[in-house]
């Protein structure tokens, strides 16, 4: 484990390329990312602050910062950064590092639960099914949610990659460990 910056380059570099993420160093802290952030308008997300925390190696602070997960990955900051910092991809890499070390927000883990249970991050619910029937469609489209054998394949991948352990998934309750059915601890 190196500095947070080094980990970002090492870990994220495999996906995005090292040069892509090295742009973080060119950050001049102008604040254009924060100023235009649609999430930050309503949440505590301060993108510039995340970039600075990453640069000064505030690993624990950034991994435990709830706002790390408030980014909707809309890429507005990424498009506008005057220094070409690949802001959103830096944030995604930091999230991956955080998740690897057991820091992952409950809502993000819950999305994992949906995928485990239905094969989809946004599964089709009873309302949508009724809607589909009303216009003469089958209640479910031909997806993993409908076909149990395919869902089992998804679950097999999750088991094989350890994703279930990462989000603390309980196969017995088909929910996060220590959570009731409503998703509350």
């Amino acid at each position: 484990m190196g500095t947070l910056y080094e980990d970002i380059i090492d870990y994220g570099g495999e996906v995005f390329g090292e040069e892509h993420l090295e742009t973080l160093r060119e950050c001049v802290q102008c604040g254009k990312c924060t100023g235009g952030c649609p999430s930050g308008r309503n949440t505590a997300l301060r993108t510039r602050r995340l970039m600075q925390m990453a640069l000064v190696d505030m690993r624990e602070e950034i991994f435990n910062a709830p706002e790390l997960w408030f980014c909707s990955t809309c890429y507005t900051c990424y498009e506008r950064c005057p220094k070409g910092v690949k802001v959103t991809d830096v944030i995604r890499t930091i999230r991956n590092l955080a998740a690897k070390e057991g820091h992952m927000s409950v809502p993000h883990r819950m999305i994992g639960v949906y995928v485990m249970k239905t094969g989809h991050a946004v599964p089709i619910g009873p309302d949508q099914m009724k809607l589909r029937e009303a216009v003469g469609l089958e209640s479910q489209p031909p997806t993993a949610q409908k076909h149990k054998d395919q869902l089992e394949q998804v679950q097999a991948i999750f088991k094989a990659t350890g994703y279930d352990a990462m989000i603390d998934f309980d196969w017995a309750t088909m929910n996060l460990k220590g959570m009731d059915k409503g998703g509350k601890k």
Binding site: R25, E26, Q29, R48, Q52, M53, L55, V56, K83
Partner: protein
């Protein structure tokens, strides 16, 4: 008077004219043409130019009055030219802007049409009316009329003056042999004119010779500078006076008389073979080496650096035992003469050392003077919290530069007192942008030299933590911002927020800086083996004597003052004296060279013509009235007045006088007057302005209570109250 609501400047046409009251006056009378300028809307928006024109036409001696949208434009000047060509007028008044802006323009319009340009007068109705009184239109218009009236009063009494010229000696004095002076000298010398370059140190090159590499290109400083230094040293048109100082400068443009003190080196450069035994023989070895910023020591006999120009050895009289204490070993000056005993250096030298050398004074006459005396670093102890001179880990940026330079004490290896370095912290803005220190200005070069030094440090020590603390990064020059980006990419960490203090880490050689990361609002500490203070620049201390000799002015920041900070950046208030480089303000090498070359161009302007125009509006002594008391000479800042011993009256050196008027105001007999500002011309102007009774009434009401002696009943004035009024009314 027009009501403010009624004035609508859009209704005033772009031009109009009206005949003046003196239209039928005889030809040899003063016949004035008045031209009121709109300056687009700058004047017109607040001054009713039509009303001013009609008022002007009613004034004595005015033949024609016109107003026009832009008098300085060619069609505007054409109005004047046509009136002059038709013989209608023989005096010109333009009511427009400040004489500093357009007096030269309209004087030239007059002289081109055959009118003596000193028959031209200006009323400033922009800076003095429309701009300051834009919210008070009726008042601004009235004031403009007053100013026009006073201009008419003065214009009527103006006298023609002849512009004169002096011969110019086609030689230039360059004071300072740094990069600025070198480039100025080379341009003039390559242009075919003689340059005398005075450098107080034993070698030219200045601070630039001390640098490792240049930002933002990272080229090696010595490989770029050495050829230029050699070129200066060998140029047939450059008289290089190294190890010399200017003692005296007098005279004026075209003819400055200069005395240069040439300090003795005590070494015959012709015989010196540049071998080194003398250095080893010299018993004094602990003198801090100036070139290495005190990071190493040198002997009393030395060459400042290997690529010095001229490549000459010098015996430092301040430290040489023989010269300072009269005795080195058994040797004294006498024993050397007698041949009984010589100091170790002479014993080691094949005959070049000569303790009989004396200081010499060289006299020169030059046409122009270029001041390029450069800078000193601010004393790093001004910010005591950074513990310079207290902790050996804390060094200046120039010291660090010597650590990076291959010619430096470590051969370019970053180490301090022989120890390896892991962590380096740079602190920006030390001695600059700091009111406590007294330097409010930005030193302009620190951001980029720190970026360069940090980059070179990271390159040499890839595993080291290199931190730059800053408040703003000013990367304004060509290629600077790009370079700054590269430096950050290289892994140098930039931390916003200036460290507040430094303390020694207990039980360690390292120090710790305390600062705030102002981007997070969090305080932090960081350890370092070396803390580099990014020192600001201030004028070289040696410039003070030059300022006194040349009567130059300083700006509030302590740097030399230009004739105009934007439009005349290398001229001074005195013709023929130029300033360039860091003596005028902190600047990088690029800008210094540009200014050096600009002063060369300014000098060549006079040299190629062999003559210079001098101000005709200067002092004049009425010999019949002058009593030769010399009061004027005492106040004259230029030394332009002298007593003629034969006829016992004061005389004006017309080339030296700048027309400041000091003599005029102190002369007890009224003999000293200013051409173009004669007493009667100025009084007429004042009287025209004070004709309104209001001022006089105010004055009397102040004076009245004082003169009321008891019992003396003053004669009641008409309309005055017969009863005494309480004073405190």
């Amino acid at each position: 008077m027009a009501e403010e609501e009624e004035y609508d400047y859009t209704k005033i046409p772009p031009m109009d004219s009206i005949e003046g009251v003196a239209a039928g006056a005889p030809e040899d009378n003063p016949r004035i043409g008045i031209y009121v300028c709109h300056c687009g809307i700058n004047i017109k928006m607040a001054v009713d130019v039509d009303e001013v024109m009609r008022y002007a036409a009613s004034l004595p001696n005015v033949v024609v009055a016109r107003h026009y949208i832009f008098m300085c434009s060619d069609p505007g000047q054409d109005l004047i030219r046509k009136d002059l060509a038709a013989g209608t007028i023989n005096r010109v008044i333009v009511a427009s802007c400040s004489p500093r802006m357009h007096e030269p323009t309209f004087r030239k319009t007059c002289s081109d049409s055959g009118l003596n340009p000193f028959y031209y007068e200006m009323a400033n109705i922009r800076e003095h009316c429309s701009w300051p009184h834009g919210d008070f239109i009726s008042g601004a218009t009235e004031k403009a009329k007053e100013l026009v009236k006073s201009a008419v009063a003065r214009c009527t009494l103006l006298e023609p003056l002849e512009e004169r010229e002096v011969e110019v000696t086609p030689e230039v004095l360059v004071i300072g042999g740094g990069v600025t002076g070198m480039y100025a000298a080379l341009d003039i010398a390559n242009g075919g004119y003689k340059v005398h370059m005075v450098e107080k140190e034993p070698s030219i090159g200045g601070h630039v010779a001390q640098l490792s590499r240049f930002f933002p290109t990272l080229e090696r400083a010595t490989s770029l500078m050495t050829p230029r230094m050699i070129e200066v040293g060998a140029h047939p048109n450059i008289n290089l006076m190294d190890y010399s100082e200017v003692e005296e400068i007098g005279g004026y443009i075209g003819n400055f008389d200069v005395k240069v003190k040439r300090k003795p080196r005590y070494i015959d450069s012709e015989k010196c073979k540049d071998c080194t035994p003398c250095i080893e023989a010299c018993p004094v070895k602990d003198i801090p080496d100036e070139f290495n910023e005190g990071l190493s020591t040198r002997s009393a006999i030395y060459i400042p650096f290997p690529f010095a120009v001229p490549p000459a050895y010098t015996i430092d009289a301040e430290h040489c035992l023989l010269l300072k204490e009269g005795k080195c070993g058994d040797a004294t000056l006498e024993t050397i003469k007698d041949g009984k005993a010589v100091p170790p250096c002479m014993a080691a030298c094949p005959g070049a050392i000569d303790f009989e050398q004396k200081e010499e004074i060289e006299e020169l006459t030059v046409g122009t003077v270029i001041v390029a005396t450069g800078y000193d670093l601010v004393d790093p102890r001004v910010s005591a919290e950074y513990k310079y001179a207290e902790y050996p880990n804390v060094i200046t940026s120039l010291e660090f530069e010597r650590l990076l330079a291959p010619s430096g004490p470590t051969g370019g290896k970053i180490e301090l007192n022989g120890k390896e370095v892991k962590d380096i912290v740079f602190i920006s803005c030390v001695g600059s942008r700091n009111k406590q220190v007294g330097n409010e200005y930005c030193s302009r070069v620190c951001c980029m030299y720190i970026a360069k030094q940090a980059y070179l440090a990271k390159e040499q020590l890839p595993d080291a933590n290199i931190t730059v603390t800053f408040q703003d990064i000013r990367a304004f020059g060509k290629g600077f911002e790009e370079f700054y980006g590269d430096v950050k990419l290289s892994g140098v960490s930039y931390m916003r927020g200036l460290p507040s203090e430094i303390y020694k880490k207990p039980g360690s050689d390292r120090v710790v800086i305390r600062a705030e990361n102002t981007l997070l609002g969090e305080p932090y500490e960081r350890e370092a083996d070396i803390v580099v203070l990014g020192m600001g620049l201030e004028p070289n201390k040696g410039v003070e004597s030059i300022i006194n000799m040349l009567k130059l002015s300083k700006s509030v920041d302590g740097f030399l003052m230009e004739a105009h900070p934007k439009l005349r950046p290398v001229d001074t208030a005195t013709d023929g004296i130029f300033i360039a480089g860091c003596c005028a303000s902190p600047k990088d090498i690029t800008d210094s060279i540009a200014q050096g070359k600009a002063t060369a161009s300014g000098s060549l302007l006079y040299l190629v013509q062999l003559k210079a125009k001098i101000e005709p509006a200067i002092s004049q002594i009425n010999e019949e009235v002058c009593i030769g008391c010399g009061t004027c000479a005492e106040v004259c800042p230029y030394g332009a007045l002298e007593l003629d011993e034969v006829i016992q009256v004061m005389t004006v050196n017309e080339a030296v006088c700048k027309g400041c008027g000091g003599c005029n105001s102190v002369c007890p007999s009224g003999a000293a007057t200013m051409k173009h500002y004669r007493d009667r011309q100025v009084y007429a102007q004042v009287e025209a302005l004070t004709e309104r009774g209001m001022h006089i009434v105010e004055l009397e009401s102040v004076v009245e209570p004082v003169e009321a002696p008891a019992g003396a009943a003053p004669e009641p004035e008409e309309g005055a109250s017969p009863e005494p009024e309480p004073v405190a009314e």
